[in-house]
Each structure stands twice: as structure tokens, then as C-alpha cells.
């Protein structure tokens, strides 16, 4: 397994990522991002750097949730895998938001099990 890869959201995906499923946004949804870029990168690299620099606006929580929490809910990764492999580059607001979404989802599991 190679060491690391960088996904530049602006260049590799879209300047305007938004929406959870392809049915919401057929062009640049979280589902599309995870299936086309994120999950393959998780499978092939030890470290995955997702760089949001230069995109128009911070994506909505549906896009971010479907992308990153979707790795756990749909692709079988654990929250520990995400914490170990994923590194985000972007505004403080975006990095904190994703971190909060992941923590909330992780706590949801532990509370209700």
C-alpha cells in the first residue's frame, strides 16, 4: 500500500460540492465523491489528504456527512480508521465541522448500542 494521496476537491472533483445523494445533485454529491474518490483512496493509501482549498463555499452537512460518515455507514470503515487515515485541509470552520460530524456520529453509536 502506498503511503499517501492528496485529493484536491477543486481540481479532482468540483468547485461546488453539495448534497447527499446523486438524486439531490447528479453532478457533485457526497455519494459521488465518496464512491469515486474517497473510498478508493482509503482502500489504496495509508494516509488520505482531502484538500478543500479554493472551492466556492463550505459544503453543507449532507455532503460532508455522506462523504466521511458514509465511509463507516456504507463502506465498512471504522471511526478509528477515519481518524488515522484522514487529514483535512481547509478553513478552520470546515475542519471543525467535519470533526464535529464524525464525533457526533461516533457518539451516537456508543450511546445507543
Amino acid at each position: 500500500m502506498e503511503k499517501q494521496c492528496v485529493i484536491n476537491v477543486l481540481n479532482d472533483f468540483s468547485a461546488d460540492p453539495w448534497g447527499r445523494f446523486r438524486t439531490d445533485n447528479p453532478v457533485s454529491s457526497g455519494e459521488e465523491f465518496r464512491e469515486r474518490l474517497l473510498n478508493p483512496a482509503f482502500q489504496n493509501y495509508e494516509k488520505v489528504i482531502v484538500d478543500f482549498t479554493g472551492i466556492e463555499f463550505t459544503p453543507d452537512t449532507s455532503f460532508l456527512g455522506e462523504s466521511f460518515i458514509g465511509l463507516v455507514k456504507r463502506n465498512g470503515w471504522s471511526y478509528e480508521d477515519i481518524n488515522q487515515k484522514l487529514q483535512l485541509v481547509g478553513s478552520d470552520f470546515l475542519v471543525q465541522l467535519v470533526s464535529r460530524l464524525i464525533n457526533n456520529a461516533k457518539n451516537e453509536m456508543s450511546v445507543f448500542y
Partner: protein, 325 residues
């Protein structure tokens, strides 16, 4: 409100139409009732002197729904020439035209009706694209003035808030308003708004007071019912929700991580909308759903309120901001 004159059934509008007045919601209820009584109903707006932007969109959506359900675009005859706001509202905003055009159905496509002036029908995706362009234009129009008082980061964060709010609200339509569930009552199978996932959208910049309004309205199951009745949560938790007053269920549904998708890692959209604080402008958010009216000022003094109103179908969300100087 409903008057019979010979064979004609007439519904008379009150002087003011706004969510603040229960009479306004009763007026819409009267439209439904009259439409059951007669194939054609005269709606008399002669007394109308004021209507809020948000209520005008809600009224439009409800009238379109009745037109669709009756499969008759001409089921309402609009009487408004004597109204003091005939020119300023009914004609100049394009409201009358939108009302009489009725709603259109394109198979398997969600619909929206954008600002009255440029009456269009779009898919949810196209609507978001259109609104994002609107935000970028607003940002460019206001940036030079705002830059004199605020750092770039704050300006960007403000418009980012609007963009996120729009994306979150639009998706609520497909994920939470028009839901697929075997628990849905059968009448939804014959409800055209439901079948075609119709929504109505309005963006408005009032140049007189620099007030900018974004409103989105659907005629789905509503936030409270979506959260408490059409959820995959366990029975004991559904029972807990069913025992709670409606406004408390609404407040819980607006909280972070609270979603009808049990343990789905979801439920952050409404929370994000509700907590996007702003220092650039006086921002307020208002949500009406399942008879609960929720309002919050997102700028100091952050006043939050919740009130009961008569129940009408659907959800209506308004994001309003006003640059004070």
C-alpha cells in the same frame, strides 16, 4: 370568510395576511373548504391592504395544490382590482400571473417556482444552481460596502451561511418532507404535491430597505410528523415522542444529531441553519410546520420563540437578513 351569493361561493380575504395572524391561516383553510363546496370559487382580495412576502408564497403554494388536486387551473377566480395593493403587489410582483398560471407537472421531476418576477419551474438541482448564482451576485454587490466595516472572512462566512442554509433546506424537501414510508396514510397516494414532490421558492432583495429574503415552502408531511411518525427509531422512542407536546418535538427535531433516520449519523442540517450566527446583518429565521411557528434572531439579542398556529399542510422556512446601514 365563506359567503354564498346565488350559485357563487366567495372567500373573502382579511385586510392583512401574515403568519402573525391566525385569521390568515383560517383564510387558507376557508379556501380548502370552499373548494370542496364548489367547482369554481371566487377569491375576493378587495379588502387586502398588506401581505407578507412569506405568506404570499405559502398562499401561492396552497392555491396551486388545490388547483392540482382538482385538476382545474381555473378553479379559483381572483377578484383583486379594488385592492389598494393591486398594482404594487398583484401586478408588479407577478403574483397574480403566478396564481393564474397554476402549477405545472413534469413527470418524475421536482418542481419549484422561483421569484414571481421571473416565474420558472426547475428541478431541485437547477434551483440550487440558480440560487447559488444569486448568492454570488449578492456577495459581489455588497462586498465593497461591507469591506469597509468587516473582515473578508466574516463577509465570506455570512454568504457561506446563506449557501449552506439553501442547500440544507432544499434537501430536506426530498429527504424529510416527501418521504417514502409504508406508514403513510393512503390519501398521500392521491396528493399531487406529494406525488410530484412540489416545492416553491422565493428570493427577494428589497432595494428600499436592503432587506433580503429567502423562502422555501413544500406541502409534505411536516417536520414534526416526519421526525416522530415516519422514523425508523424503536417503538419505545416513538412512544416517547408521541407523548410529548408538538412544540417540544419540533425543538428536538431542530437539535443537532436528531433525525428520523435512527443512528444514521445524520440530523445536522436544521441545527446548522439554526445556529449560523451573524454579525454582519440582522438575520432571522422562521419555520412553520405542523402548526408550530418557530422564530429565532441569529444576531444579538438572539431571541427565540415558539408559538402554536392552526395546522396547515407543509413546511415553510424563511431566512431573512437586513443590512442596517
Amino acid at each position: 370568510m365563506i359567503v354564498r351569493k346565488g350559485n357563487a361561493v366567495i372567500v373573502r380575504s382579511p385586510e392583512r395576511l401574515s403568519f402573525e395572524f391566525d385569521e390568515s391561516i383560517s383564510f387558507i383553510s376557508a379556501l380548502y373548504e370552499a373548494s370542496y363546496q364548489s367547482d369554481v370559487v371566487d377569491v375576493d382580495f378587495s379588502a387586502l391592504i398588506d401581505i407578507s412576502e412569506s405568506f404570499s408564497l405559502f398562499l401561492l403554494a396552497q392555491i396551486h395544490k388545490i388547483q392540482l388536486d382538482k385538476e382545474n387551473g381555473g378553479c379559483f377566480r381572483i377578484i383583486c382590482k379594488s385592492s389598494p395593493i393591486y398594482d404594487s403587489f398583484f401586478l408588479n410582483t407577478g403574483f397574480l400571473k403566478s396564481l393564474l398560471n397554476g402549477s405545472c407537472i413534469q413527470s418524475h421531476k421536482q418542481q419549484s417556482i422561483s421569484a414571481y418576477g421571473s416565474y420558472t419551474i426547475q428541478s431541485l438541482f437547477k434551483c440550487r444552481e440558480h440560487l447559488n448564482l444569486w448568492i454570488k451576485n449578492l456577495m459581489s454587490d455588497f462586498s465593497s460596502v461591507l469591506k469597509q466595516r468587516f473582515p473578508d472572512e466574516q463577509i465570506r462566512a455570512f454568504f457561506e451561511g446563506l449557501s449552506v442554509t439553501i442547500a440544507e433546506s432544499l434537501q430536506n424537501i426530498s429527504h424529510h418532507a416527501y418521504i417514502e414510508s409504508d406508514k403513510l396514510p393512503t390519501y398521500y397516494q392521491f396528493n399531487n404535491a406529494f406525488i410530484h414532490k412540489l416545492f416553491w421558492c422565493f428570493s427577494w432583495h428589497n432595494l428600499l430597505n436592503n432587506k433580503i429574503t429567502f423562502i422555501l415552502c413544500d406541502l409534505g408531511v411536516g417536520i414534526v410528523d416526519s421526525y416522530s411518525k415516519y422514523s425508523n427509531r424503536p417503538d419505545y422512542d416513538l412512544e416517547r415522542l408521541n407523548g410529548m407536546p408538538v412544540h417540544q418535538v419540533m425543538m428536538e427535531a431542530l437539535d443537532e444529531t436528531k433525525s428520523r433516520f435512527w443512528r444514521g449519523g445524520r440530523g445536522n442540517g436544521l441545527h446548522t441553519i439554526r445556529h449560523k450566527v451573524s454579525e454582519l446583518a440582522k438575520v432571522s429565521i422562521t419555520i412553520y410546520s405542523n402548526g408550530v411557528l418557530y422564530t429565532k434572531m441569529m444576531s444579538p439579542p438572539y431571541i427565540e420563540s415558539i408559538n402554536y398556529k392552526p395546522v396547515l399542510p407543509g413546511t415553510w422556512i424563511e431566512w431573512c437578513f437586513e443590512f442596517t446601514e
